[in-house]
Subunit: 456 residues, 2 copies
């Protein structure tokens, strides 16, 4: 949760000493806390702090633009009367607040504010995945320079302690790959589609329920998950990635028929974020990374995640697969991660620090693929497709064609044996040009279970 900070020992020891004093008699010293952003998560953090009364922690400031409406809300009324509400972030930066909790999201203006907070000797707890994915390394250096902490356990998978669990419990392993479901919106959409609903209907429901934005692109096109994957890669693989270099594929092209065929293959479909280290001759260590809808075996832990749940599977050289799962979003689960981070900062706790290196990213994976075509059926199509695949050296593993679809708009599926992403994309590009193709072929990776049961 904590980014390395050489000088922070001094500062956090001081904070810890302050806290130690706080639980002794006499006028208590406290760790003073400000919340930036009183939305769903911000109001939940305030509620948890108010309900749990952790000794030595005091919420003193809340920043929100036009805060009056927030202050008068039900959640706002439960905030202690002593808290200062403000829409001027300068008030907080100039105050004696020790820890700034940032729950606003986005890069601007938040990055500038947090830089000022760190420079003013305030530790920062944030749930801001975009900020940490794009600017985390720089902010961490700034925190280090000023002897304070920057922690972001809430930035990935909300209440699921995958970041602290890895930092604290898997530092002794050599993690070589990770895969997970880190976007609850996509998981809600795809797990509803698994039971027969179509994409447009489910997306509308998700928007109605507040799971998806009016513009759902950040979720369904994979940009939200990509930021989280980069943060997980930093912690699990000790690899700093450029988020923009990570390949993404939208879930919007998935149709009901794909779940039907997936089921025949013993699979379902989920938006998967995966990253994996490998050594490429002449290039050194590279990270294979991708956010895309993929076929996942129904028997794998990944397929267990339903609704807005998150799940991350971390695979280590020594420890094998470790699974973390739970509520990845929502006010209260995310507040648990934020408050846990706050307690760690307040008590001067740090986690094990290991060197992180910048790594090149590739979208290449060696994987079996699922290809779904919709064609105006005529003799020779299967032969033409198999010809295009064999031309690039991709072997067909199965051909599935369910009865009952009209010949003039026939959906059918070809799966391949493991081959490189670029190879299959090359073949698909040539197949897409065939006259009989009524839609762009859908090409999905199939996730393979690698950590076999030792027994049973």
């Amino acid at each position: 949760m904590a980014i390395k900070s050489k000088q922070q020992g001094k500062k956090t020891a001081a904070t810890a000493a302050k806290l130690a004093k706080a639980v002794k008699p006499g006028k208590p010293a406290v760790v003073k806390v400000a919340i930036l952003g009183f939305g769903t998560v911000g109001s939940s953090v305030a509620a948890v702090l108010t309900a749990s009364k952790f000794p030595g922690i005091e919420l003193t400031h809340i920043f929100n633009r036009g805060f009056e409406r927030k202050r008068r809300s039900a959640a706002g009324k439960r905030v202690p009367a002593s808290v200062v509400w403000t829409d001027d972030v300068g008030v907080i930066l100039a105050s004696d607040v020790d820890v700034v909790i940032e729950l606003m999201g986005g890069l601007n203006p938040v990055e500038g504010w947090l830089r000022k907070a760190l420079a003013a000797g305030k530790s920062v707890v944030t749930a801001n995945k975009q900020l940490i994915a794009y600017r985390g390394a720089g902010l961490a250096r700034l925190a280090e320079q000023h002897g304070v902490q920057l922690v972001y356990g809430a930035a990935v998978a909300g209440g699921v302690p995958v970041i602290p669990g890895m930092l604290q419990g898997l530092s002794g392993d050599t993690v070589t790959r990770l895969s997970g479901i880190v976007n609850g919106t996509c998981n809600y959409i795809l797990s509803r589609m698994e039971t027969g609903a179509d994409y447009a209907t489910v997306l509308a429901d998700a928007q109605q329920l507040g799971y998806a934005e009016a513009d759902p692109s950040a979720d369904v096109d994979g940009f939200d998950a990509r930021a989280k994957l980069c943060i997980l890669s930093r912690i699990a693989l000790h690899a700093e990635l450029d988020p923009d270099a990570v390949a993404t594929q939208s879930i919007a092209a998935i149709e009901a028929i794909d779940f039907t065929y997936a089921k025949e293959l013993g699979c379902t479909i989920r938006q998967i974020s995966r990253a994996q280290l490998s050594n490429v001759k002449g290039e050194g260590t590279v990270v294979h990374a991708r956010v895309a809808p993929m076929l996942v075996p129904l028997a794998s832990p990944i397929a267990w995640s339903h609704g807005t749940q998150n799940m991350v599977v971390v695979s280590g050289r020594f420890g094998g697969d470790v699974v973390f799962s739970g509520h990845g979003a929502g006010g209260e689960p995310t507040a648990v991660a934020v408050v846990s981070d706050l307690l760690a900062v307040a008590q001067g706790c740090r986690t094990v620090q290991l060197p992180v290196r910048k790594r090149a990213v590739t979208g290449e994976f060696m994987a079996p693929h699922y290809l779904r075509f919709v064609v105006d059926d005529k003799p020779g199509i299967v032969s033409a497709i198999s010809g295009a695949l064999s031309k690039v050296g991709a072997n067909i593993d199965s051909i599935l064609q369910r009865p009952g679809y009209p010949k003039h708009r026939l959906p059918f599926v070809v799966t391949t044996e493991p081959c490189l992403t670029s190879t299959i994309e090359h073949a698909v590009a040539s197949i897409a040009k065939m006259d009989c193709m009524l839609e762009r072929p859908l090409c999905l990776q199939m996730l393979v279970m690698e950590d076999k049961e030792d027994a049973g």
Copy 2:
């Protein structure tokens, strides 16, 4: 992972400073490490340390009785030549070792040795669940007095970072209950029985594979899991329990027919360790705790665990259910937990400390129950059983009797609506006395999924 230690800041800061020096040029300072016990886990810890070459950590001593055989083994030969092997623990206690890793198990003589190590200013990393369950609080006080750390992330669920994950990532929640599979041997046996094998055969296989001891009692009767449950309760519920006060029930009474009936009820059977806080009028907060074979819904995460896998579900007031799962045993997964703890101690990392209180334990749960009877069938049996149940106020939820069994040895099942453990046990005791009963009735709790999906 760390038990509270007021004075440890000084010592761990010194250790951290030593490590910081270690990575600078010049003659490096190192954190010196001894391993007590070069068995499966001990040799794996040595192998991980040798393979991973963490800067500033040096394995200097290995203790094992009759170490010559160990030193000449394949694993022993891979240990650096600089390591001192000894069968005199006094050599290690008198040395300048900073951290003692204890992997021998049991209370004696280990407790005395570790007391001496802590008193000599050495931090202790241990995987010893019995020691921590029974003597953890006293050892923690000793560590505190001497300004060193006592950490035991490997004591529960091996390579699954449930202890560090909870300490670091769930401290902000108020955990009210936990349930899990923390004994791989029982899970291997029961998940094999689920596919049709009988208890005796599977137990023999487990012994053959090294999963079960010649005397399997510690595993199958629940004593191993009970110690782990007490450790988890300390960390998740902040409750110190007397392990001997936790009710256990053996899995040895489970038969193939129970899996048949469980399946009809949409369930399977697992050895479950569960604990739950409640406020009892006049008694304050008590912990309901039990280790027993229970029926678990096939749709619940608990049922996903196969083979020797471990899984723990922690339920918080704010964060809902969080699931941790992975390899709970075996040399390398357990070594990951040990080495992660070692890195934390070496870098002077601590986790959030919250007050732990002694709590009274009760075996009472309000739960639906599964009752399996084997009778010499005659008219009136169901009526007599339902009479005995209604006498104590337990309502029948279902009666299941599969065809095809001989009338003179007929297994059938009654399930009840939720009722208290003591109530159902009272009824079962009177039913057991009925002439037609050929075996002691089997009475199992049925675990209910409480954390419903928010969607999908």
